[in-house]
Symmetry: C2
Subunit: 339 residues, 2 copies
């Protein structure tokens, strides 16, 4: 096979505040044939996720920042088209970390074969990183007990929508917040939430939550931070748990954001606030895959996707995450399932 032309998205400049199209650049790269111990993957779907915003900032963190003028990274699923790795013969479908590009050369590191009988994009959502995030965050850090009340923010998003459904499976009362009436309807009608609020129109969030769940909440799964975290602290019951998955309210802050002024409530209410990262919980992958597959087969877990088409649409799909454009998992389709 001759050199492959692969279009990819580079980080042109570090975003200041909410990312804009000018922060990204579409570049065509000519890939050589895979060398010994390498393979060439044609990507079918790539993921855009809020956490990627953090990697666009130049700072020390648990993963190094994206480099300016280089291709971005992220989860993707694709098909091996040419291979010098025995365990990934050509034709194999795989999930891997080289998203934001149409083709990738890989040495097999952090590559997993996936079952093409299931929708490939599911490996970027319900059966992928967002799925494990919801599962591990809720069950390990939220520790919901049957009969308890679970509050989920960004509940119509990739992670939140799964947290809501897993909490229902575990016998909890679930209240979710989202940023549009359509999303609220989705939470109630499709995801089985007991209560849902449009945080943009419900007025004071503490009062709105208290009106729906007067006894308060036992677990708050935080995807948002900011005023959501403040309201959660206000309505939290004694010994409540707050797994912190994300704080999308703060990802684009240009100064130091306002902190929760009522943080002192952790003392009288004996609240635990625990930040977590999905990659610390890969040990839960086998039970996650077993439970999730069974729940999907039984029709107990549903999901939706917001699909953009073509590599050129990836920056807009990513930017849309911060404007609430997505219902469920946002993915970008880079090519057909089969060629």
């Amino acid at each position: 096979m001759s050199a492959v032309q692969s279009r990819e998205i580079h980080l042109k400049q570090r975003p200041n505040g909410v990312p804009t199209a000018a922060d990204f650049e579409l570049v065509t790269n000519s890939l050589p044939a895979p060398g010994p111990g390498e393979m060439l993957i044609r990507n079918v779907y790539m993921s855009v996720d809020p956490y990627m915003r953090g990697r666009m900032v130049e700072r020390e963190s648990y993963v190094p920042p994206f480099k300016l003028g280089e291709v971005l990274q992220g989860h993707a699923v694709g098909q091996v088209v040419q291979s010098n790795i025995d365990r990934f013969p050509a034709g194999t479908y795989v999930s891997h970390m080289f998203g934001w590009r149409e083709y990738a050369i890989s040495d097999g590191t952090m590559v997993m074969p996936v079952d093409p009988k299931i929708a490939l994009s599911a490996y970027l959502g319900v059966l992928g990183m967002p799925g494990l995030t919801a599962y591990a965050g809720l069950l390990k850090h939220g520790r919901p007990k049957e009969g308890e009340t679970v509050f989920v923010s960004a509940a119509a998003g990739a992670v939140g929508s799964l947290v809501c459904q897993i909490a229902k499976i575990k016998g909890c009362t679930v209240i979710g917040t989202a940023g549009s009436d359509d999303k609220v309807k989705y939470l109630l009608d499709e995801l089985g939430c007991d209560f849902a609020l449009n945080y943009k129109t419900c007025g004071d969030l503490t009062k709105a939550l208290s009106a729906k769940v007067p006894k308060g909440v036992d677990v708050y799964f935080d995807n948002v931070g900011g005023s959501h975290l403040v309201a959660a602290l206000n309505v939290m019951r004694a010994f409540g748990r707050i797994p912190v998955c994300g704080m999308i309210d703060q990802y684009n802050a240009t100064g130091l954001p306002e902190g929760p002024g009522n943080i002192i409530q952790v003392i009288p209410k004996r609240i635990s606030i625990t930040g977590f990262i999905v990659s610390d919980h890969y040990d839960m992958m086998p039970e996650f895959m077993a439970d999730m597959s069974q729940w999907i087969s039984a029709g107990r877990i549903k999901w939706r996707e917001t699909v953009s088409d073509g590599i050129a649409a990836a920056p807009a799909a990513f930017i849309g995450l911060f404007h609430g454009d997505n219902l469920g998992k946002a993915v970008v389709r880079l090519g057909p399932d089969k060629v």
Copy 2:
């Protein structure tokens, strides 16, 4: 025995901001002889503690607020002078909950006999509620491992000074903050802290901490909140634990205080922030008493007290807690050990 004249401190008005003398009233009460199933206790020491500020506010909490125009409550140690309870014969020394008064009538609820061979005031500090608070908060919620670094705020106070020493016993590096050079000297020379900072003069607390412990801290025992919590989040290492015992910085806030603007750091650093209350940990009392008695005998735990004299001095002793007047445990001596 005829009626006893007992002077006691009433809450005259709810403090607005830092409490002042005008919030309290000294009242003389005439106590009847104890009835059937009751005893009369002459108090020798009473405790003043920062947590009492919270009970002076009219709000729902884990304990009901103090009532206006009524005697305050708190820990005290005293001697039974007249008794109709078999298990507490006259002469017995006891710790109990009816402080802020010279004499108390009790039916024996929440009363424990104490050993008068040990300084009676110790039962209000190192062997009492502050001792168990330090022990349970650090060991159960802080979970320090040998070789880790523990940061303690209000480190020269009743609880903080014990946390520092228990952390040293557990093989940790300990850094404490306090509000005067004398207290800093006390932390280094008497309590065995590895490092100590006067937070009022050290400049930016994050930088000052980083200069002393460049690798960061694994456990932050929070007695203070506010800018101490912000600095702790900044210097925290991955998987750090923050047991929150108190937030004295915020007890006298008249509006909503500023929250930690860097709370998002809980995610990349996978930090746990856990509020706790000592009364949830009474199950640890036997191991606490065993460990603490042994450590005291071995000279591994030291303590100091700031003693005020006479019931009339109690409001000033309490108010002094918020001005940093006390080194170690603040107590009020109400009478001689023996009469």
